[in-house]
């Protein structure tokens, strides 16, 4: 008899009343799942209007751009916010790398 089958048999052999013992744990797990993971930790990305309001209040080097990107290895679009300066630097870096590879 394989190990899996043996374990299944053991589980089936348990008295029915014992299922109720796991109920508090299940409820707790459900409650934990319903609560947002710490209000301080989870932050939604800013809306387009919020981004614009922020950008209007700060110096150009602190301005951000938020766009929807599809990360490599996934098909799920994600909204990412970056400093415009960083975007420029990354794009220059990538262009340089491509140029070097093509040489």
């Amino acid at each position: 008899m394989s190990c899996t089958r043996l374990r299944a048999k053991k589980i089936n052999a348990r008295p029915r009343g014992r299922h109720w013992q796991s109920l508090p744990y299940l409820t707790l797990a459900l409650l934990v799942g319903c609560v947002a993971p710490g209000e301080g930790n989870f932050q939604r990305p800013p809306t387009p209007a919020e981004v614009e309001q922020y950008n209007a209040m700060v110096q150009p080097e602190e301005r951000i751009v938020c766009r929807t990107e599809i990360p490599i290895g996934s098909n799920i679009p994600v909204r990412k916010c970056r400093l415009a300066v960083d975007i420029d630097e990354t794009s220059v870096f990538h262009r340089e790398q491509l140029r070097r590879a093509l040489r």
């Binding site: 809306t47 209007a49 209007a56 751009v65 415009a84």
Partner: protein, 360 residues
């Protein structure tokens, strides 16, 4: 030998001394004619009057010089951070606007921004009004210019209004004043995506505050349009939420729904526009006294973007409430989209109607 103390010599010395003193003393006693010393208040008024008459006569260079004199005089007389500079600054802006000297114009607008920021610290409403004043001037300049300069002025105008919004948001009591400003930002988005050049838009928005284009990554045209639509939608929904808290708001909310419908129409989403118009109409139907509002909204075609309806509670106490409307109305230039005239059967029948083709 002659003695020098003789009366003859004494008389000569006295005459010579008088001849030297009298010309120096006399002019000081007679009243001084206006010789360009404008550093006192009565002369300031005189210089301002002269400048105003130059401006009226179309002598713009002379007006500019005279207003500058008055400006310097006010600064010297009343202090570098005195409110009395503001009316003179307004005239200087008008003069340089008429001269189309954009460098000076931008310089005075920057000065106005810096001055009011310092003067109105902790006075949110007054600071917001000052920011709105700057935004109005930028929008007027955008009307006169093309391409990148027009775009830049529209962006500056939008940024100043955002700053005004941020200032007003600090006090919960000011929240009712936000809605015309939020609507104005939405409309500026429409102008930026549809009427201004989108070349260098990203650069002007995020890379620099100067009217120059800095090369680098930029948003595509589609992305810009989608972003503008999203911002406008968000702001109009926020206006809706602000007014949803008020009592007796059926007619106000219906008007905001109509503006939301207009927004869909401006971005080519006719289906959604129809839903908003229908919602507004049905809400107004439940109000016995709302027939003039239905008439005003739907009985005739309205050029879009429509001016904000400005409920009395939302207007600034001192600034003209129609300042936004006036500035925006003048922007209704090229596209000519219209809110169609919508009849009763449009709202009562269930089958989908096409919005009038003339609205394009």
């Amino acid at each position: 030998m002659q003695h020098y103390c003789r009366p003859y010599y004494l008389v000569l010395v006295c005459v010579a001394t008088l001849a030297a003193i009298v010309p120096a003393v006399l002019p000081a006693q007679t009243p001084t004619p206006f010789t360009g010393n404008h550093y006192n208040q009565s002369n300031q008024t005189r210089v301002l009057e002269a400048a105003e008459s130059h401006l009226q006569a179309g002598e713009l260079d002379a007006a500019d010089i005279a207003f500058r004199q008055a400006f310097e005089s006010v600064r010297a007389d009343r202090g570098l951070f005195h409110e009395a500079q503001l009316p003179v600054l307004d005239r200087l802006l008008a003069t340089n606007f008429a001269r189309q000297d954009w460098q000076q114009f931008n310089h005075y607008l920057d000065y106005h921004g810096g001055l009011t920021r310092r003067m109105y610290q902790g006075q949110a409403v007054r600071y917001a009004q000052a920011l709105q004043f700057g935004a109005d001037w930028h929008q007027r300049a955008a009307l006169m210019l093309n391409d990148q300069h027009r775009t830049w002025h529209l962006i500056r105008s939008r940024n100043l209004i955002w700053q005004a919004v941020s200032a007003l948001e600090q006090m919960p009591a000011n929240h009712s004043r936000l809605s015309p400003l939020l609507y104005r930002i939405a409309i500026l988005h429409y102008y930026l995506t549809n009427e201004a050049s989108t070349r260098g838009l990203t650069s002007l928005e995020v890379r620099t505050d100067q009217p120059v284009r800095v090369s680098g990554w930029s948003m595509s045209g589609n992305e810009t349009t989608r972003r503008s639509y999203a911002v406008g939608q968000e702001l109009l929904e926020r206006i809706y939420r602000i007014h949803a808290r008020e009592a007796d708001n059926v007619s106000t909310l219906a008007q905001i729904d109509t503006l939301l419908g207009d927004w869909q129409l401006l971005f080519g989403r006719d289906e959604l526009a129809r839903d908003y118009y229908r919602k507004a109409y049905q809400a107004l139907q439940t109000e016995p006294a709302a027939s003039p509002v239905i008439e005003q909204l739907f009985a005739r075609r309205v050029t879009l973007p429509a001016p904000y309806f400005a409920p009395p509670a939302t207007a600034f106490p001192t600034a003209p409430a129609d300042s936004d409307a006036a500035a925006l109305a003048t922007m209704n230039t090229s596209q000519g989209r219209l809110r169609p005239q919508l009849t009763d059967d449009f709202f009562t029948e269930d089958h989908p109607h096409e919005l009038h083709p003339a609205s394009r």
